[in-house]
């Protein structure tokens, strides 16, 4: 009974704090504060991803929205339980994760797998490390990686062409019919390069949110212009992929796809704009962000070209999440030694 009360209290506190601003005032200087806060920070990411969500409904039917709702339901509940156990506030951190995660799932994935993935991702990607701001990995990617490895039969070979017609998926519940390969698979097995127009507009098979590149770019630019995401990682990442695939595809045209195809296919655009930019799990230093972007680009092109997998974005980002503290340490050690020299010279 007491425990139940505590659960309800956490929820009502969170809703109250969510809907209303803070009554706290500044103490001492500075007496005024920027109007930016973490709620707005998260909400703007959601606004930036929203066009992609709408595009996923347009391409793959209303089931996409159901997947998003399930993700929110289970993700927020997990966060809520952990917040209550830890006697902390329920924070806004889950909102972005629960929207990014369904966007990187195949369209006809069974709904129970969606739930398993988001619960696993929230617990082992975030909560065990201490919650939002202390996580090492991007929780959405942890969930995605877990179900990709645990339930491979549901995750691979389940790609469908988007629904045809002017209304598209707005008039259908889900895609059905014949499974088809994604452009990346087609390139790997048969060397076919999909028409760039289809790649750009999203008339291709793939994960729910990764197909419509134009809307992803729109959302990504919105985040960069509003300074929500740091421009360094997406720009350097995409630039490295373009440059490296230009060089490699002219030497080994059978193994590596040309640059524009690489940029517009698979989850690269979505990953670069919305996942690699996660400030918590990426490197914290500005110089580290440059290094991370370059390494992400190299890893993606190499995994796509040389490994057995057709897609390398997810693995690259997870790997760079692991290396982020190492990159930061190297950058900080460099800065510290430079500073020490200067201080000695000054004295």
């Amino acid at each position: 009974m007491h425990a139940l009360k505590r659960f309800l209290k956490t929820a009502s506190d969170a809703i109250d704090k969510f809907l209303f601003g803070s009554p706290d005032v500044t103490i001492g200087s500075p007496h005024i504060r920027d109007y930016m806060n973490l709620k707005r920070y998260m909400i703007l990411v959601i606004i930036a991803v929203a066009p992609t969500v709408i595009a996923s409904i347009y391409h793959f039917g209303w089931r996409a929205l159901l997947i998003v709702i399930i993700s929110y339901l289970f993700g927020v509940t997990t966060e809520w339980i952990f917040a209550t156990i830890r006697k902390e506030e329920l924070t806004e951190g889950a909102f972005v994760t629960c929207l990014i995660y369904p966007m990187i799932l195949p369209p006809n994935i069974p709904l129970w797998i969606v739930a398993v993935g988001i619960v696993f991702g929230t617990i082992f990607g975030k909560e065990v490390f201490g919650g939002t701001g202390k996580n090492i990995f991007n929780p959405a990617l942890v969930g995605r990686l877990f179900i990709a490895i645990a339930f491979p039969s549901f995750m691979s070979g389940q790609w469908y062409q988007p629904i045809e017609g002017t209304l598209g998926g707005f008039s259908a519940y889900s895609v059905d019919g014949i499974t088809s390969a994604t452009p990346l698979t087609n390139f790997k097995s048969e060397g076919i390069i999909e028409a760039y127009r289809n790649l750009f507009l999203g008339k291709i098979g793939g994960c729910l949110g990764e197909t419509s590149k134009i809307l992803i770019l729109l959302g990504g630019f919105f985040l960069i212009i509003t300074k929500i995401s740091n421009w360094r990682i997406p720009v350097v990442y995409l630039g490295t992929v373009a440059l490296l695939s230009y060089i490699l595809s002219s030497i080994f045209p059978n193994k590596f796809a040309p640059p524009l195809f690489q940029l517009l296919s698979g989850g690269l655009m979505f990953g670069a704009m919305f996942m690699a930019t996660d400030p918590v799990s990426g490197p914290m230093t500005l110089q580290g962000k440059w290094i991370c972007g370059i390494l992400l680009g190299i890893l993606t092109v190499i995994i796509r070209g040389l490994s057995g997998y057709v897609e390398g974005v997810m693995f690259s980002i997870i790997l760079m999440n692991i290396f982020a503290p190492l990159i930061d340490n190297a950058v900080l050690a460099f800065i510290a030694s430079k500073n020490r020299k200067n201080v000695i010279r000054d004295e």
Partner: protein, 386 residues
Amino acid sequence: MILKRRSLKNGYKFGKMIGSPCGQIHKLEIPKEVIISLKQGSDINNKSQINKNLFESGVSPYNTSSIQPDEVKNLIINAVHTEPYCLTNNIIISENLERFLIGIEILKNSLNDNVNVYLAINQDDKQIIRQINDKSKYKWLNICPLKAKYPQNHEIILTETILREKIPYNGTIFDLKTVIVDVQDVLHAYEAIIDGKPVLERIIAIGGSGLEKGVFVKVLIGTPINHILAELNINADGKRVIIGGVMTGTQCDDLSTPIDRTTNTITILKENRNREFLFFLRAGIKRGSFSNAFLSSLFPMIERNADTNLNGEMRSCIYCNYCEEVCPVGLMPYLLNKFITHDLIDEAINYKPLSCIDCNLCTYVCPSKIPVASNIKDLKEKIKEL
């Protein structure tokens, strides 16, 4: 002569604020019982006499600085104003242009013969720059137009910008043989030498969101704040009265505190303890922000709100790098903050915490509402104790 200098790279431009002081300078009546002892004016070319008179009249910085007049190589007149509601120097200069220029000449004559004189001024004050530049008599005066980015007017940043030299770590502007005076000091020098009048009055700006309209007012040094507010019919009940600007000023609870010789600004801010419905979804046409997440970024001409609300709850650091991008001295405030919360002072020393100039911008921009600047201040004190 106009010199080109690259303004501060980081920092923050606050934009127009509601209740900023504007218009002419009001003059408060000087009570009759105050007797002003006027001395005889002196020759502006007689160096020893000028120095003696300046000292006796109490013109700063000659009676505060630890440098002898003969040692000074660079004299910088600081007419840059960047903080919201602060005293806008262009009003004072344009009302007293002749006196201002003669004042500069007096200060120049009081120092070493080879002193370089720089006038740092907001680049938007084009009329004043042109007027001074047109006077052939003042060719020796180097005018440096600078961007009005906070904290461009901080003495260390101003010196480094203008002289294009680095001050050694943990050093002061005296390491570069530099003295900075503000516009009022120049006018005080004029009054001290030409009129023989000691430093008695000061022009201050009274502004802030708690007022309908900000004003400039010339007051006697020592006048209590509540007296000034009463004269100007300003009601400060329930509002926050700050001596100084909103970024670095100190809250004043006792309104009988007198104005002293360093007071430039009195800011009266609205206290805002209201909880606003769907706070984070507002378009924010009047909400200034370092990020471009509000409509105010598209409409810089619209006056911005300012109140004391935190505008959010305290959260853990998400490494958004806003503090690093805004820091005028190139520190990594989030990193120092991390070291402080884990009590790793030995580590923190490697990242130059003592070059922090207490501009408080890192606290201002933090979306997680962490008091980064005051944490760094604590760290600096701990390091100095070591």
